[in-house]
């Protein structure tokens, strides 16, 4: 009796942990996660090639790719389609819309990487990958995750803003408030001593609602 090939279990990556390593066949050759070391990476899955919402997303990802690159951030797509399907779809997008898909796409036909990243959400998408997106920093640490259902295309401004916010937090040791955009004030870490709490209320550089909630401008 034949036994189906054993598949790795579906796991959920965790924020703050190293992103799960992989080696994959992509539209730009065989790549490993470690090949992106030193740059940030937006690693995302889509349900299937040649589908309308995914096509709008790919065109939109291609549009923000130069901006992400200027932030030292690369893009990497994934679905469980074949490499030939990916190539045909990219060519179709170029032919029909003139848009060049400049980033690599993983052909994860056996779903190994998708399972490792928790990209398959059976309740939403059966055996396809959902619209999952992971921001991995330049040291290979998983910093953010966004999950969208099949029906809903992602917001590219939010993807870009998320990377900008994470990089800003790293660079300045701050947090970012709701709806933060570059140029907006940021949140300084809460004080750890009574003295610090008193001092920050007297600071002219801080805008404080109370001792635990202060904002400041960043240098240009």
């Amino acid at each position: 009796m034949d036994h189906p090939q054993e598949q790795p279990p579906v796991t959920q990556p965790r924020l703050g942990n190293p992103a799960p390593a992989f080696e994959a066949r992509t539209t730009q050759g065989t790549l490993r996660l470690e090949d992106f070391r030193g740059s940030w990476l937006v690693f995302f899955s889509h349900p299937a090639d040649f589908t309308p919402v995914c096509t709008t997303e790919f065109i939109a990802f291609a549009a923000i790719h130069p901006a992400l690159r200027s932030m030292n951030c690369e893009l990497l797509g994934l679905s469980i389609d074949s490499i030939y399907s990916h190539i045909a779809w990219i060519r179709n997008i170029r032919e029909k819309t003139g848009v060049e898909i400049s980033f690599p796409i993983v052909a994860d036909q056996d779903g190994t990487i998708a399972r490792r990243y928790g990209m398959i959400q059976p309740g939403d998408s059966g055996t396809e990958t959902s619209r999952c997106l992971f921001v991995i920093d330049d040291k290979g640490v998983l910093r953010a995750m966004i999950y969208y259902p099949l029906t809903t295309g992602r917001n590219m401004e939010e993807v870009r803003r998320l990377v900008q916010a994470l990089q800003t937090s790293d660079l300045h040791g701050v947090a970012t408030p709701a709806d933060w955009k570059p140029g907006d004030r940021v949140i300084v870490p809460p004080p750890l001593t009574q003295e610090d709490a008193d001092r920050r209320r007297e600071s002219s550089e801080l805008e404080c609602i109370d001792w635990y909630y202060c904002k400041q401008s960043l240098p240009d």
């Binding site: 730009q28 050759g29 090949d35 690159r69």
Partner: protein
Amino acid sequence: MPCMNEDGSLSHPARALLRFISSPFTPELIAEELGQPLYRVRGGLRELMDAGLVTERDGLYVRTEKGTAALTD
């Protein structure tokens, strides 16, 4: 960059990479000089090393005799 075409010949990006590393260079410098993303250079170098066309020492990559011969094929 897929380094080998289906017929076993070197792809155009692989040729450019091999041609450049007649002397040892880091992947970072290769990427900068060739105007390629670093991840593509790293992936390409690994494929070329697997094919015996490139060798690495102390983080510097240089083409082998086999690599030089492949350029003349």
